[in-house]
């Protein structure tokens, strides 16, 4: 089983057009198109991830084209806002860019008696951005840790606080780094901390922005800026650097081939959490929305928004969770 999956992943990455410029991921042709069902109406509310905010909005637009009677409200202040909203019942969809913490699951179980259902809906390459004029093009995660964390738990020998420390010369050598990050409500904040900083603490000088777009905007306007955000927020004003786990390992680009090929170290799933009582069907409106997100149309929207679509077998596994 694992063998076939791996072969599939290889085949998929090989099938993608390999070129020097940005690659566009393609949706697996076998992912079924969305089949409309009857009797869907009402209103849906989504509270959660900012990384998924645009994607949720685009899905909602596509979904409303199928069902004009459905009203969808989307709020995206950060993944940590999803569990409280799901628990309180103010939202039926909880988009998150990280997994739920055990304490959050505890709280959910305390209210409902069963854990929430986690549906993976897209793949993100969490990118480290620098200004487009910055000559830097690659970093190791050890260096990323030394830039963003005061604890340096990944084992870097010294702090990196200016561009000179990364070997940049000329005008860049004199510039201090200006760090941009997300606020602690963000799943991206938590994921980056866990996977890039080896769970070490952020420096106090990281400017915490309320959204991914502000991080990218900050790095665009600040030539000595460096920040992290989902790949879906990439603009022409910033550059996503290539990343390697550590010195000596291959560098991966924040692009489809390297993410599917396992070379990009900060690849992650984007998820939607739903409240599904075990043994009972999910609310039809919620079910159809998630079906739509997992359908061919939904995954094409994922590509349109800059993220990477699911592989066929993952898509099918997630579909089964909704039954």
């Amino acid at each position: 089983m694992t063998c076939t999956r791996f072969a599939l992943a290889l085949a998929l990455s090989a099938a993608l057009p390999v070129s020097a410029s940005a690659q566009v991921a393609t949706v697996d042709a076998q992912i079924a198109p969305y089949a409309k069902v009857s009797g869907i109406s009402g209103s849906l509310s989504s509270v959660g991830s900012d990384t998924l905010n645009n994607l949720m909005t685009l899905w909602a637009e596509g979904f409303q084209k199928e069902y004009p009677n459905v009203r969808i409200q989307i709020e995206g202040k950060g993944s940590s806002t999803a569990p409280p909203a799901l628990i309180a019942g103010t939202a039926q969809l909880g988009p998150m860019s990280r997994e739920m913490k055990p304490t959050e699951v505890d709280e959910f179980e305390k209210k409902y008696g069963y854990p929430p259902t986690d549906v993976r809906v897209a793949i993100d390459a969490l990118a480290v951005y620098v200004n487009k004029d910055n000559p830097l093009d690659k970093l190791t995660l050890t260096q990323v840790d030394a830039i963003f964390s005061k604890a340096r738990r990944c084992g870097a020998p010294a702090e990196i606080s200016s561009w000179k420390d990364l070997g940049l010369t000329g005008a860049w050598a004199g510039r201090p780094m200006s760090l941009y990050g997300r606020n602690s409500a963000s799943g991206t904040y938590g994921y980056f901390k866990e996977h890039a900083l080896c769970n070490g603490d952020y420096k106090d000088t990281v400017k915490e922005q309320p959204g991914s777009a502000s991080v990218v905007q900050g790095v665009t306007a600040d030539p000595s800026g460096i920040g992290y955000s989902g790949i879906g927020y990439k603009t022409s004003g910033v550059k996503a650097v290539d990343l390697a786990t550590k010195e000596g390992e291959p560098y991966g680009k924040a692009e489809a081939s390297d993410v599917y090929g396992g070379k990009y170290p900060l690849a992650r799933f984007l998820r939607i959490y739903v409240n599904k009582p075990p043994g009972r069907p999910l609310d039809p409106l919620v079910r159809e929305f998630v079906h739509f997100a997992l359908s061919k149309q939904g995954q094409e929207i994922v590509v349109k928004d800059g993220y990477l679509p699911l592989l066929l077998d993952i898509d099918q596994t997630e579909m089964k969770k909704l039954e």
């Binding site: 694992t2 999956r5 791996f6 992943a9 202040k77 950060g78 993944s79 940590s80 806002t81 409280p84 309180a88 990280r98 913490k101 055990p102 304490t103 959050e104 505890d106 008696g113 604890a151 738990r153 084992g155 010294a158 702090e159 200016s162 004199g174 510039r175 201090p176 200006s178 941009y180 606020n183 602690s184 409500a185 799943g187 904040y189 938590g190 994921y191 901390k193 866990e194 769970n199 070490g200 603490d201 952020y202 106090d204 000088t205 990281v206 400017k207 915490e208 922005q209 309320p210 905007q217 900050g218 306007a221 600040d222 599917y260 396992g262 690849a267 009582p277 075990p278 043994g279 592989l311």
Partner: protein, 751 residues
């Protein structure tokens, strides 16, 4: 901001006097209107007071549970028939406890009635030398033939309709060969989790062996690759206690001669990476807290310490050391068992005299102390959710309920310096939450208070001189026609939504300030000087020539001088930036002083928030100055004082109470301002008064973090505490302002 509510508009209307109406009827109607107005006004006033008290009461109610004490109580106690388990694990719902006895018998008991639901002889009696519980609900035993058995106990949850059913099941056991020579392993530690399985043990020859079966999971395919690695480590003395972290990176040991050792297993070196003296009393128990950075050390004399690896406070190059960071008050007898929670940095410690204590590392709190329900405890374990514990003793199994709602909050954690895990020294830090539970919450309100005062300071530095001087000029010197234009315009500034100001400051102003900082400094210093020079030039013009100008046209001259001067100063600043600072002031600042220049900083916020505060201070000061009785100024002028002398000696002292209250109201506004600081600073909770850094205020912090705070959690209540603090701050400032104002008013009332 309703700074000057007009209350004089009472609903009393003048009744038309008509001949046919008798005067007494008019008077009666007036009395009626009067009474009606009094009721309406006083009801309104009382409603305002009541709602403020209501807000205060609400805040206090939300904050109050932070003060509730933790409680440990016995909820069940059962007689145990077989040998007492030496290791225990509980299921997340606290329905079952699985225990492994030194005779190799694994028993799972239902905690509702104490009945045995599963019993299995894992090892034949006499085979096991030591038994431990390790991560992820696994029981482990070391054997006389040099092996370690890892036996996971899993809890299958199923639903029958609404009913939740939990069934215990033994997972696949794993064997780790520690000693190929088949010697007995006495002291050992094991881990089983996402990173794979690992065990470390003390061999018969006193050496330490570590075997790690590391698992790595492929991101997309979930394919597991396992890699086994065996290491032999050198211990300077025979270890009596071992602890292994979940990441299988660090191994800790306590030796019989009073030393603590730590090996970094990522380095291929057999000697301990770090060595420290653990103190006079021998180590009797060792446990890692969640997050695996802090080591709880229990001593034979009842002392309890927390240790972790820290770098040298001044010179990180000198390497790190295992440091005793904090100690808890001593328990009565030797610490025999320590159990740490998986959810936070809470741990339980049991001593030889059946004393039981509940502690929290970060906040340095003894949460609870009492008597254990059974003596001679052989095993102590926290329930996975941290809400209960199990305690086994010969012939007994006790189940404890742990109510521990807000352990991370203490006076010191909120306002004092705390030594956080891995830091070189104690510090004030706000970093409240993260994406994982092993995160150590850092809830110091001090950086936020400093940020609040920093933002207020920089905005008032800008706002007070401009607003007060502006008010003096407008009310005392300006032509009335112009005055009628200027006053409403400035007051209109107050109606600008602060989110717009914050947006402009963050996205438009901040990059411009960065590009032309020296020019701004030149402008700030040069413009007042220029105005004085212009004034001097004006007086130097012969009177005959001056008299030809219409009164007020000197303003045009001043404006001309200012515009031309400002452009000149700006250009001068650019030139200076190029010649002196090498083209970029921020780079020069960093290169010369090491001080960082952040694009979104206190200076930018000072300008934006100053802009928001100016209309408030201006309006109230202007009112106070205009309301100085005309008789006073007229008298002063009649006695021969000049206009300037009249303003300085007569008007200003009389209006000083009003100006003072204007400044205080402005202060209150700046303290509570949220949107501008939220958008125009980086929200960096740092403790630095530099105008070139950002900051985070109490109010912005509440706005940023309240949506993510789980309702009723510690962060939620701490944010309410911040709100209460903000409320108290503005309340105290306003009350003080009012008191001072009253006194000043009394003093100048006789003037």
């Amino acid at each position: 901001m309703a700074s000057h509510l007009d209350v004089s508009a009472s609903p009393v209307k003048r009744a038309p006097l008509r001949a046919s109406v008798r005067p007494s009827a008019v008077a009666r109607r007036r009395i009626l209107y009067d009474r009606f107005a009094r009721v309406v006004v006083s009801t309104g006033g009382l409603a305002v007071i009541a709602s403020i008290l209501g807000i205060l009461a609400f805040l206090v109610i939300e904050v109050w549970p932070l003060l509730t004490a933790a409680r440990v109580s016995v909820v069940g106690s059962f007689a145990e028939t077989g040998a007492a388990p030496a290791a225990l694990v509980l299921d997340p719902d606290r329905l079952y406890a699985a225990g492994l006895a030194p005779d190799g018998m694994l028993t799972v008991r239902r905690l509702g009635d104490g009945s045995t639901t599963l019993a299995e002889q894992l090892l034949s009696p006499g085979l096991a030398t030591a038994v431990e519980a390790c991560g992820a609900g696994t029981l482990a035993a070391a054997t006389i033939d040099g092996r370690v058995l890892l036996q996971p106990v899993t809890w299958d949850v199923s639903f029958e309709g609404e009913q939740r059913r939990v069934a215990p099941r033994l997972g696949d056991a794993a064997w780790i060969d520690l000693d190929p020579a088949r010697g007995a392993v006495s002291v050992f530690a094991a881990q089983r989790g996402d990173a794979g399985s690992a065990a470390a043990g003390v061999l018969a020859d006193g050496g330490v062996a570590v075997v790690r079966q590391t698992q790595t999971k492929q991101f997309l395919t979930d394919a597991l690759t396992t890699k086994e690695e065996r290491r032999t480590l050198d211990a300077p003395a025979r270890p009596t206690r071992l602890a292994l972290d979940r990441a299988q990176r660090w191994l800790y040991a306590a030796t019989a001669d009073g030393r603590l050792l730590a090996w970094d297993l990522a380095r291929d070196v057999a000697t301990p990476t770090l060595v420290a003296e653990s103190g006079a009393s021998p180590v009797s128990a060792l446990a890692l807290l969640v997050g695996d950075r802090a080591l709880v050390v229990g001593h034979a004399d009842g002392a309890l310490d927390v240790w972790f690896t820290t770098s040298h406070p001044d010179d990180p190059a000198r390497g790190s050391a295992l440091t005793r960071v904090r100690g808890f008050p001593r328990q009565d007898a030797a610490i025999t068992r320590i159990a740490s929670s998986d959810r936070n940095r809470t741990f339980l410690a049991l001593d030889a005299h059946a004393g039981l204590g509940l502690y929290y590392s970060t906040s340095d709190r003894v949460l609870w102390r009492g008597e254990a329900p059974v003596a001679d405890g052989t095993a102590l374990a926290f329930a996975p959710k941290g809400d209960g514990a199990g305690l086994a003793a010969p012939g007994h199994l006790a189940v404890l309920d742990v109510v521990n709602p807000h352990p991370e909050v203490s006076w010191r954690a909120l306002f004092g310096q705390v030594w956080y895990e891995g830091d070189p020294r104690p510090s004030f830090v706000w970093q409240s939450s993260s994406g994982s539970d092993d995160f150590e919450a850092k809830l110091s309100l001090t950086p936020l208070l400093v940020g609040t005062f920093k933002g207020t300071f920089y905005s008032l530095v800008l706002a007070i001189p401009l607003a007060v001087l502006g008010a003096i000029y407008t009310s005392q010197f300006m032509h009335p026609r112009l005055q009628r234009l200027v006053k409403p315009t400035v007051e209109l500034m107050a109606s600008l939504p602060s989110v717009v100001l914050g947006f402009l400051a963050g996205l438009w102003l901040a990059p411009r300030v960065e590009q032309s900082l020296p020019s701004l400094v030149f402008l700030a210093l040069g413009v007042p000087v220029l105005s004085l020079v212009a004034g001097a030039l004006w007086t130097a013009i012969p009177k005959a020539l001056r008299g030809r100008f219409v009164s007020g046209s000197e303003l045009v001259l001043v404006a001309l001088v200012l515009v031309v001067g400002s452009i000149g100063l700006y250009q001068l600043g650019q030139v200076v930036e190029h010649t002196t600072f090498g083209g970029s002031f921020s780079e020069w600042l960093f290169a010369k002083t090491g001080a960082r220049y952040d694009q979104r900083n206190a200076l930018v916020v000072g300008i934006a928030m100053g802009f928001a505060v100016i209309p408030i201070i201006f309006a109230i000061s202007e009112d106070a100055l205009s309301n100085v009785p005309h008789t006073l100024t007229a008298g002063s002028l009649a006695l021969g004082a000049s206009r300037w002398q009249t303003v300085v000696r007569v008007v200003l002292p009389t209006a000083s109470a009003g100006i003072f209250s204007a400044v205080m109201v402005g202060f209150g506004r700046a303290v509570g301002e949220t949107m501008i600081v939220l958008m125009a600073t980086g929200n960096t909770p740092i403790m630095d008064w530099s105008p070139f850094n950002g900051f985070r205020t109490l109010s912005a912090n509440i706005a940023v973090e309240i949506p993510e705070a789980p309702v009723g959690g510690s962060l939620y209540r701490t944010l309410f505490l911040a709100a209460l603090l903000l409320f108290a701050l503005t309340f105290v400032v306003n009350t003080l302002a009012e008191l001072v104002r009253q006194r000043l008013r009394e003093r100048y009332a006789r003037l």
